[in-house]
Amino acid sequence: MATTVARAGDTLGGARRRPAEGRRRRRPSKTRWWVVLLFLSPFVIGLATFVLYPVVATLYYSLTNFQAGSYRPVRFVGLNNYRTLFTRSDDFWLSVRNTLWMVIVMVPVRTVWAMLTAWVITRVKRGRSVYRTLYFLPSMVPVVAGALSFIVLLNPVGPLNKLLGLVGVSGPGWFSDPAWSKPSLVLMALWVSGNTMVIFSAAMLDVPRELYEAADLDGAGPLRKFRSITLPAISPVIYFSLLTGLIYTFQYFTEAFVVSGSSNVESSSNQLLGYPANSLLFYSTELYRQGFSYFKTGYASAMAWLLFLAIFAVTVVFIRASRRFVHYSGGAR
């Protein structure tokens, strides 16, 4: 078996390696490539059919007036769908505002909530696993079932308002009141933040004890220890939670769809997405409405591409910005 030894001065990272002297480069046989392709083919075909083709197709449709189910000739309209979105659609901008509200409020609140619950749980001496399981359980509930449960729980004369009534508080309309509908969804998001809490909990337990002991010797209080030791140590998890939360919330759909749909009246095909008063009209629900209620496939495809570009841009900015606040043990980034 031929071995090569790196010369002095070569680095593993960037330096070019020279082939070992006297060794002839062997061409891989064509037969081997076919075998590799054969084994890869299920993945390649699946990727091409179910990912690449739809991506390219939506880009194409976004430049046309295509409507699903229509026999009208499909016309190339250039950037007209994009222009209409920016200049003539109030609902588009409303959905952008509603989505940004959720991104700005729900993502940090959910992260802080998961972090706090994890912090509390890690400080519990007895029965920690029981509490952790109890907090984690709701995240195993299917999204639709969870949303339906909250519709019952947050009914204006439902259990929560009855409890509030006992202490003399008149509960709000929650999902039926435009002022309360988005905060109610945030409340629901806190209920299902168990998986993030588990990751935070693991990260907190992973912080070296010696650091806290040293801080104790220096006379640091709990808050100082949290700020100077725990927070930097768990910053990669905060970063992960914020980034995944950001991407998820930009595409926020199911909960809003269920809540609006179930809070709505009659006619099965004529659901008023965004109910009440369009306060729950998020970007993805507006996209769905345009594509599957109004059948404007081209227009909805343009919306999908804008969403993709927005998420991509925000993710890149966030990753770059994270270098300032994320601390990795050993200094790696």
Partner: protein, 446 residues
Amino acid sequence: MFKSIIGVAAGSALLLAGCTSAGPGSSQPDTAISAGASHAPTTINVWTFNHLPNEVAAFKSALARLHTTYPWLTVNFVPNKDDAAFAKAVAAGDPPDVFVSSAPDNVGKFCSNGTVADLGPFLSSAKVNMGATFPPATLVYTKYQGKQCALPLLTDAYALYYNKKMFAAAGITTPPKTLSELAADAKKLTVKNSDGSVRTFGFVSRSDYNGNRYMYTGVQSGNKFYGGDGKATFGTDPKWQQLLQWDKNLDDSYGAGNVQKFVGQYQPHADDASNPLLTGAAAMEYDGEWHVGEIDAAKKGLDYGVAPMPVLDSAASTYGVGLSLGTVAYLPAGSKHRQEGFFALQQLTTDTTFLNTLADTVSNVPSTFAALKSWDKASDPHWKPFVDMFSNPGSYYKTLTAAGEEDMDTWKAFVLKYEQGKVSDLPGGLSGIAKKIDDANAQAGQ
């Protein structure tokens, strides 16, 4: 390399272009099959939105009878399909041969897009006299720009339900006929608790409660959603302002918080024993005819009356009209068995036994003159107002457009915004919403 890229791009474009429906191609002429003629055995697909077991059973029974009468025709029946599923099937090039939709809102869209066939040639060939077969109110919501693109399959009408006992206690002897009378009666019937909350609402008019949105489509205010020029009339017809102001004044009289609580409590609309009319939480309610069946099932002994919905004072002479819309049945343009599909469609929409059985099953009104005439409930005091309203030539649904349900959604959102005090300039808001709806119609190719 460059050639490869060009090749791949050209191939992709060809592939993508192929994914948009190329247009229906049928070898069959647009003529009806003679019922008595012999025919090669054919199996067709019938899709419907209906999904409840009793509804599905009624359909299956009718289709089995159809097969017994015409053994050459076998129907593959598929329940629980909505408009979106239908559009996807059309886009995939495999539509059903008959599609029954729950609401007529997409008749204009499907008709203008060529998604469904113009039934005119088939109906002429089958010598169906539309005017003598179907009441005029059903033709409003099954036609688009003169083309008969769907047929009615049962219909709905909306009316005022009122609690007779509460009326008597408040000294009200007859149901209100104008919206002013309705508001006055509602205030008389309202009972407040000592803490300011409402125990019994006279009438809640907010548009997102139950089917109230249909009160705001023009038929109760004696005006039309669209003018003769096809443009929305919200900015030009003062009756819209009068109607919305009446609505807001009434709801404000209860206190916005009380109305919010009421609406939130009964969403989704309560159609069982917890319905506010049944529990005494409301003395009057605007609802469709199926509510008669719901009341029968949930509280048979309730002493209630049904009357046409009151109209705006300035349109008092139109009292007796009501909003009328219903289930529609399409013949998809891309059907592979258009003649057989039309045959089944014609049978389903005109078969008196089937219509009356299904009407009884789902508590709807039959949609042909013949079925109405033989329907045993037509003279029932709870059903008669609906039958009368349905037969009233002034009853209608708003004109359907190529934008489908987008116009109603836009309007509903505006009305709710106004009701919640978020529209400070009503005339300006109405003009703005009219423009928005006109733009949507223009964009849809109206």
